[in-house]
């Protein structure tokens, strides 16, 4: 232990220095298996805006000698050695060899005892399991507006979450290298190497040891992803651009005509008066309020876009608001930074400042109130500067707090959405806001913000890569995420479009979007045959809406991502990237190749039920590759034996209409070999915060099939009775009657071909037992 080292509470302070450089370092321990290794010099930026209040009520034991300091925290042992400087943890070593190298840059190497799989570190269009980069380019994080990005690439995209998960025989750990400057990651079999352009070494370590535990530990640090409003899980129809009032009404009318449900109509940049956000082009949209309220009347919402570049126009109220407050990002001469974007000459507010975010939030409130808008889309917030280096700000641009842009580059989007969310929350304090962003950082999800994978392309590669890209986002805790269905650039044919709708309908954020230059591609644009196939998929999404909603509720309650790799199952550990799980109950194995109507699916041992026709498909003694048939318009989706998932039999125009008409619940029961199954369902008004405390309008039901009885346990209080309409038990012998609270009914339909039993319960759901009698 060096002379200057000391303990203060559960934090060990020490110095790492040579002739040129001196760093104040600390190793702190927090409740729940979290530690923070921070090394800074006086003027470097510690990015604390993302860090939540952490509980340091941790008891540590220390043991200090000349060679090392030994710290035991919550059962884990850490040894800090000085020559060379290392932190030796259970199973790996944090190697500080390079701490003192370089000027402003930082570097840190983590070396594991055993070979690992590494995951996360979005956003890249690459495999889910991070590739080895030793003899190749490293993964790079530097938020950029990338035109027509390629797949299989370590090139940076729009967002950055410097979070890496390591996996070794079921032991899972996490590392969050909290630094918003340009960052690189080198990956090899046994080690990862972070290096960043500026800032500090600020490593949050999560000891795991499970996938869920690492998620929870990361949420303790950056905040827990917030569940969206229920209607956000519906289908979104977007295009650059729905041209005018008539076009918007036409699109809504077509959904009505074809009986296609959808929840959100999106208006891209062309709806504004010459890209002045928070205004309308009144030639094209003469009465925006009327348009918005007419769409609302059908149970649907309008989302408008509001980008961070502000048209350089002294007569524009948004420009004026920021200009009067001198709120712009500056150039290296300390003058307002000017550049080009969609409106032509533009400036960018410095959202790093709280006071500047407040101006934006006020604009959001004023605008949303006037036009009845509740949902906002923040695009181009990397920031995209058309005439800037790599299409962004120069690194020596300046922020109001005196920091150079290079120190903060990767959190422009993070601060932009923070301001938007703040406005919407202040306007509607009782309703969860909906904001979509293209750029993001760790913690964006905890603001309650959704992301999409930006400007992808209408080809089969991009369809397939939506899976690893979204899995990486999920692992890095960006739960509400999706890829543009159909591919933003280019024109999908009917087959690719239908396959993409199939896959999109089983991913968290489900939005069709297209570039200005593309052909129209709403679901009816490819002829009646494709329309019918696509409609089936969209209806299925809405049928299982109670399941999706429950998955999102549980993602927040149990820190378990809505979309997961196969290895989260107890009896499976391979890396498979072309199939995935929704929660841990449903397996999705989409068709990803042109001309195919079947594929191999890897199924772990156990029973697997085909969700599209509600019957037992496979009963496997061990993991097996099976062939799933899926002609166009069908997607192989399996329910895991031993689970129960909720759905609704009632079809509606939209989720909002489902809620308005108090949709009834039904349960799909998939027994395991022992005849047991368990599941859950969450119910609330679809938009309030009641779920946080489970009182006054939100309830969580756990459901258990135990041989010949179904037990339902209620937690929380719902205000309006919720009818449990039907229970379909698959692969179950025919029963004659069922009993609830002494009341016997024989309202049962046995399907002998499918071997299923349909019970017409038709009773308000509550804590109860349903006895099944043969």
């Amino acid at each position: 232990m060096s002379d200057s080292a000391y303990f203060k509470g559960p934090t060990y302070h020490f110095e790492v220095a040579n002739e040129d450089k001196k760093l104040d370092c600390s190793l702190s321990f927090y409740k729940g298996g979290i530690y923070r290794f921070l090394c800074q010099n006086e003027d470097s930026l510690v990015f604390n805006d993302v860090v939540q209040e952490l509980d340091s009520d941790v008891f540590i034991m220390t043991n200090v000698d000349d060679v090392e300091t030994r710290i035991t925290a919550e059962g884990s042992v850490f040894r800090v050695t000085y020559d060379p400087f290392t932190i030796i943890a259970d199973g790996y070593v944090i190697n500080g060899n390079d701490l003192l190298d370089g000027g402003d840059s930082t570097a840190l190497n983590i070396l594991f005892d055993n070979e690992q799989g590494f995951y996360g570190f979005p956003e890249h269009a690459d495999s889910y399991k991070l590739r080895k980069t030793v003899n190749d380019d490293p993964y790079r994080l530097f938020n950029l507006d990338v035109f027509e990005y390629d797949v299989r690439s370590v090139f940076p995209l729009y967002g950055a979450i410097p979070f890496v998960m390591s996996r070794e025989n079921g032991k899972i750990r996490g590392f969050f290298y909290n630094n918003p400057s340009e960052m690189f990651l080198d990956v090899s079999d046994k080690d990862i190497y972070f290096y960043s352009e500026a800032g500090v070494v600020d490593l949050f370590g999560y000891i795991g040891p499970s996938y869920k535990k690492v998620q929870e530990q990361h949420h303790t640090v950056v905040g827990t992803p917030k569940m969206p409003r229920m209607n956000v899980l519906g289908y979104h129809q977007c295009r650059w651009n729905y041209k005018d009032d008539a076009d918007s009404r036409f699109v809504v009318g077509q959904f009505e005509k074809y009986g296609l449900p959808f929840d959100f109509l999106w208006l891209d940049i062309e709806h504004t008066n010459d890209k002045r956000y928070f205004t309308w082009d009144l030639n094209k949209f003469p009465d925006p309020q009327k348009l918005v309220s007419d769409i609302n009347d059908l149970g649907r919402e309008v989302v408008i876009i509001a980008d961070p570049h502000i048209k350089d126009d002294k007569g524009y109220h948004v420009f004026k608001a920021f200009d009067e407050a001198n709120a712009w990002i500056r150039d290296n001469q300390d003058q307002p930074f000017k550049g080009h974007c969609w409106p032509g000459a533009s400036r960018w507010p410095d959202f790093v400042e709280r006071s500047v975010r407040d101006i934006w939030a006020d604009l959001v409130i004023e605008y949303s109130k006037e036009y009845g808008i509740k949902s906002i889309w923040n695009d181009m917030n990397e920031n995209s500067v058309f005439n800037g280096p790599e299409v962004s700000h120069p690194r020596d641009a300046k922020h109001i707090n005196g920091r150079q842009h290079k120190e903060l580059h990767n959190v422009m989007g993070f601060y932009h959405t923070m301001a938007t969310i703040d406005g919407l929350k202040r306007l509607n304090p009782d309703e969860r806001p909906f904001v979509l962003t293209r750029s993001f950082y760790g913690g964006t999800s905890a603001q309650g913000v959704a992301v999409w994978t930006g400007d992808n392309t209408a080809d089969w590669d991009h369809l397939a890569f939506s899976i690893p890209m979204l899995l990486s986002l999920q692992t890095a805790s960006q739960y509400m995420s999706g890829a543009d269905v159909g591919g933003f650039f280019g024109n999908p044919d009917g087959e690719l479009f239908a396959r993409w709708m199939e896959l999109g309908s089983w991913q968290p954020f489900f939005r069709g979007h297209a570039h200005l230059d593309t052909k129209r591609r709403e679901p009816w644009s490819f002829g009646d045959e494709v329309l019918e196939l696509v409609k089936k998929q969209v209806l299925q999404r809405y049928k299982f809406m109670p399941f999706w909603y429950t998955v999102f509720y549980e993602s927040e309650r149990h820190h378990f991502p809505p979309m997961n790799p196969m290895f989260v199952l107890d009896n499976f550990s391979d890396d498979v990237e072309d199939q995935y799980l929704v929660g841990d109950k449903v397996l999705v194995a989409p068709i990803l190749h042109s001309g195919s109507s079947q594929r191999d699916v890897t199924l772990p041992a156990g029973r697997w039920y085909d969700l599209q026709n509600s019957r037992l498909a496979f009963d496997l003694k061990k993991t097996k590759k099976v062939v799933a048939h899926a002609p166009l318009g069908t997607i192989p989706v399996f329910q895991r034996g031993g689970t129960i998932i909720p759905f609704t039999t009632e079809k509606r125009r939209s989720v909002t209409k489902m809620i308005e008409n108090n949709y009834s619940l039904s349960l799909l029961v998939a027994p395991n070999a022992l005849g047991n199954a368990e599941g859950s369902v969450f119910v609330d008004d679809g938009s309030s915060y009641a779920y946080e405390t489970l009182d006054d309008g939100a309830a969580y039901f756990t459901i258990l099939l135990d041989g010949d009885a179904i037990e339902i346990q209620q937690e929380g209080v719902i205000l309006e009775e919720k009818v449990l309409s039907h229970i379909l038990i698959m692969d179950y012998p025919c029963i004659k009657e069922f009993e609830i609270d002494g009341v016997i009914s024989s309202n049962i339909v046995c399907d002998t071909t499918k071997k299923s039993v349909l019970i017409n319960v038709d009773t308000p759901i509550t804590t109860m037992t349903i006895k099944l009698r043969k």
Binding site: T518, R520, K651
Partner: protein
């Protein structure tokens, strides 16, 4: 007072005439009243209790005609004749059927009578349009006949003139040959004189001048013949009904001025600037038919396809563009009303509809709900 009575009266009438099973077509009543229900698509058989129990048991959900778990719901809409709506509209608080049958009793007022009157007046208006259109079409046909006769006559004249010109050229050429032979003789005469040679040469020059004049006249006539022949070979539809539109310009005067030159080309022009003109495509006979004009391979779009235009032809009293839209980037669609596509079949179809609605209207007026009680 009278109106409100009417609404109540229709509502009651519908309740009484409604089928036993909600949401089915009256003609299917038998299929839904047996003890065992057979799915309409043959996908299974169930006990009667599955009908409208809120769970779709058949592949076609025909066991759920009256709930939102089904696929389609039949609105009886007496006396309009009834129609299917999507089951997702059933019991959602929005009135879709004019008889209100898609919602619980008392939620929606019965508006079938209003609907009936609207439809009656719409059809009457359309019939009047088609009738006027047919008269205008007669005129088009007469004009087409006249144009055709004129053009054919012109063609004959030109052909005669062509023959005359050809003969003249031949005659002049043989005269030229004779003169050339004479010149040869004169030149070869030993005692030939310069002035004799010059005299023959002058004659030759003058004949050559006549030949050249006649030849260009012939060329001009040939071109005119080709032009008329091309015109007469265009498929102008039955009895050449579109022929009179050939030399016209159909245009709009909106923000962008769209101009269609039928069977030739379409353009977009700046409204206040006649110089700037962008081709939306040339007429494609292959991709057009009796009621659609297709213009393809127009000026290429920056970052997009070649411009193209699809025109749908609708019966109307005169020829005009009634809708113009850029469906997606540089893909234009327009609706053009023109008498040329009006037909008597269309008229009879509309008159049949009118008859149906008139009868419905009569029925409704004479309907005495007391009889049903």
């Amino acid at each position: 007072m009278h109106l409100s009575f009417y609404v109540v009266f229709i509502t009651l009438a519908c309740v009484v005439t409604g089928t036993i099973v909600r949401g089915i077509e009256p003609k299917h009543e038998d299929l839904y009243s047996q003890d065992e229900f057979h799915c309409l698509d043959g996908s299974g058989s169930f006990s009667r209790s599955v009908i409208n129990n809120g769970y779709c048991s058949c592949n076609d959900c025909s066991d759920e005609p009256g709930t939102s778990a089904g696929i389609q719901f039949f609105c009886e809409e007496y006396p309009l004749g009834g129609r299917y709506i999507h089951s997702m509209f059933v019991d959602d608080g929005i009135c879709d059927c004019c008889d209100g049958s898609d919602e619980a009793l008392g939620v929606c007022p019965n508006t079938c009578n209003v609907e009936l009157r609207t439809r009656l007046s719409d059809i009457q208006e359309r019939i009047s349009d088609v009738r006027k259109g047919l008269i205008a079409k007669e005129d088009l046909l007469l004009r087409a006949q006249a144009i055709k006769t004129t053009k054919e006559k012109e063609l004959l004249e030109k052909q005669t003139r062509k023959a005359i010109a050809q003969k003249a050229v031949e005659a002049l050429n043989s005269e030229k040959e004779e003169l050339e032979a004479e010149r040869k003789l004169v030149t070869e005469e030993e005692e030939g004189k310069e002035e004799d040679i010059q005299r023959v040469q002058d004659k030759i020059d003058s004949v050559e001048k006549y030949v050249s004049n006649e030849e260009s006249e012939l060329e001009r006539i040939k071109n005119e013949i080709a032009e008329i022949t091309t015109f007469l070979n265009i498929d102008f539809g039955v009895e050449n009904v579109f022929m009179p539109l050939y030399d016209t310009e159909i245009s709009t005067t909106t923000q962008y001025k769209y101009v269609i030159n039928p069977f030739r080309e379409a353009f977009q022009k700046e409204k206040h600037n006649n110089h700037g003109s962008t081709s939306l495509g040339k007429f494609s006979a292959d991709q057009s038919d009796a009621t659609t004009w297709s213009f393809i391979n127009g000026q290429k779009c920056w970052g997009g396809p070649d411009r193209s235009l699809r025109v749908s032809l609708i019966c109307g009293t005169h020829t005009e563009i009634v809708m113009a839209d850029e469906e997606s980037m540089c893909v234009y669609v327009m609706d053009v009303k023109t008498p040329a596509v009006c037909s008597t079949e269309q008229l009879s179809e509309l008159e049949a509809q009118l008859g149906f609605y008139r009868e419905a209207y009569e029925k409704n007026l004479n309907y005495d709900y007391a009889e049903d009680l």
